[in-house]
Amino acid sequence: MDTLVRLEGVSKIYPRIHKSRERLQAFVSLLFGREPAHGARVLKDINLEVVRGQSLGIIGENGAGKSTLLKVLTGVIRPTSGRVMVHANIAAMLELGAGFQPDFSGMENVRMKASLMGLSNQELAERLDDILAFADIGEYIHEPVKHYSSGMVVRLGFAVITACRPDLLITDEVLAVGDESFQKKCINWIQQFLEQGGTLLLVSHSMYVVQKLCQKALWVHNGRIEEYGEVFPVTQSYLAWHEKRTAKEKEMQVKAKGDGAYYRIENFEINGSNDNETPRFAMGDNLDVELQIFSPDDRPPVGVVGVVRADGTPVYGVVSDNEDAAPVKLAENLYRFRLRLKNIALLPGSYNLSAHSMDPEGIRVFDSCQMPFVISGETKEVGYIRLPHEWLD
């Protein structure tokens, strides 16, 4: 296999340089080839190999070391220890700005960047039209880059890369800045690039993009490789880790406020079924909703129940205290609302039943919960809801 990049035992320490004395110390330790005395260890003993034709997604939380890893890979920064071997013509989009100088026009920056990537003046002249067409920023090309929006900078930066036809493309979460149509254009270009045997390293927080473009994924956590392998298992365990962390944070939040200090939804069901299957109803059925709310101070909370169309359009909602509906006390700190939506007039389609719990004063929403359900049936009526009607003579 044709190895394009190989990292062996790569570590990176960012020296601490707030004070001028620390800068001087860092300078002296570099002069004598020593590791910096103080600093943040951002990468720890990374081993990685990228072969030709591979597409690798790098994922991880903010500050995990993804961007530093890319910078080491591209050679923008030198690792504190370890070896970096690169046998490829790399084009990289690291962060915003893409190495553009803000005071110069887009055109001049294109010229600089293209020459930096090894394009001769003649090659640039031949491909300039393609670059401008891809960037599609019109007359702004003659304006200084400092007047560009961040989306325009990315457009131009990516356009130059498309013209350079690299072996290895490295992008760092830059696609997220472009608008919808530009993102699509980039993703199409990358897919084509991969089909033609190109190699891709991509940092993204969008698992959708990673799964769409990459075969393999690398999860970086605290400067180490947490997991490396096929894209789906790795992204899934990354997402699972996030969910666990979020759950833990929530738990900690509650604990921090004292014993269960907020009004949370304990249980939410339609017609007694809250298992995994989506409940189905016909028009005209009754929907029996049950909502149990935990009340930390044992005062009766306020409950909200509503129906939302699957695309998010609200259809109907009702708040318990506006209708003087009081919950039943089931146990210490636990209250229950029961609501019957009678003879339901929703037209067939997918809906969500949503519930919220509020404090006894009905001022703040504390918890929300949604449950999908389907109204089945056939009708030629249009809209969301059947209004009572009759055709007159």
Binding site: T74, V76, R78, T80, V84, M85, L94, A98, Q101, L116
Partner: protein, 263 residues
Amino acid sequence: MTLEKKKKFEWVFFQNLVVRQVRQDYLENITGFAWLILQPLILLAVYAFVFSTIFKARIPEAGDIGFVPYLAVAFWPWTAFSEAILKANNSITANGALIGKVAFATEQIPLASVTATFIMHLVGYLAVLVILQLMGTSIHWFHLVLVLPVILLMWILACAISLFTSAIQVFVRDLAQILPPLMTFWFFTTPILYSSSYLPASIQQFSQWNPMAWFVARLRELLLFGEITFSYRSLLVVFVVVVFAWLSLRFFRRFSGHFEDFL
């Protein structure tokens, strides 16, 4: 700790850097490139007025050549040299946006800055020489063939010093304050405003080790006196300058991979 990625010296990129530097310094003015020639001529007029009319400066060795040509022939190359070093000193920090985002041979930045300054002042130097000729000083034009290698050597020395200072500047920002007075000191200890015979014997000893004194003396000999005095010392100067340049490039590369951490 090795980095086995070849960072090529991109020639087209280097040209672009130089052109951009020249444009940045001159094209933003209304008159543009005219200043390249106007500025040295105005300065020449000022020096002529100050030194000939007010100070009535005389240099015995200059003979009937006069003080102003004697000064001008040495002064312009010095200005190029000194300005090149002072400008290149900040070049790394000024190009931080590029250095943190793109991998390339970073030494191109200070080298391009030095080169741009030299090119600009060389144009001015030629203009000054032409004016001197028109004012009646006989310039030995054929010796330009030998003047160019001397200036080339000055350029190499300026590049070498700039590689040192621009790398250190990233870490020790105070250098930007220290460097200008140092260059002024160098200016006055080099026989530019005066002849080396004015120096007391004890200082003349040191002056032997001042490469700028050697350059200045060669330029005057070649252009004004029409003498060619190259000796084994010339070879020594070439050797020292080239070795120094090689060392400074090594020094620069030792740090260049870490600039991003400090910008």
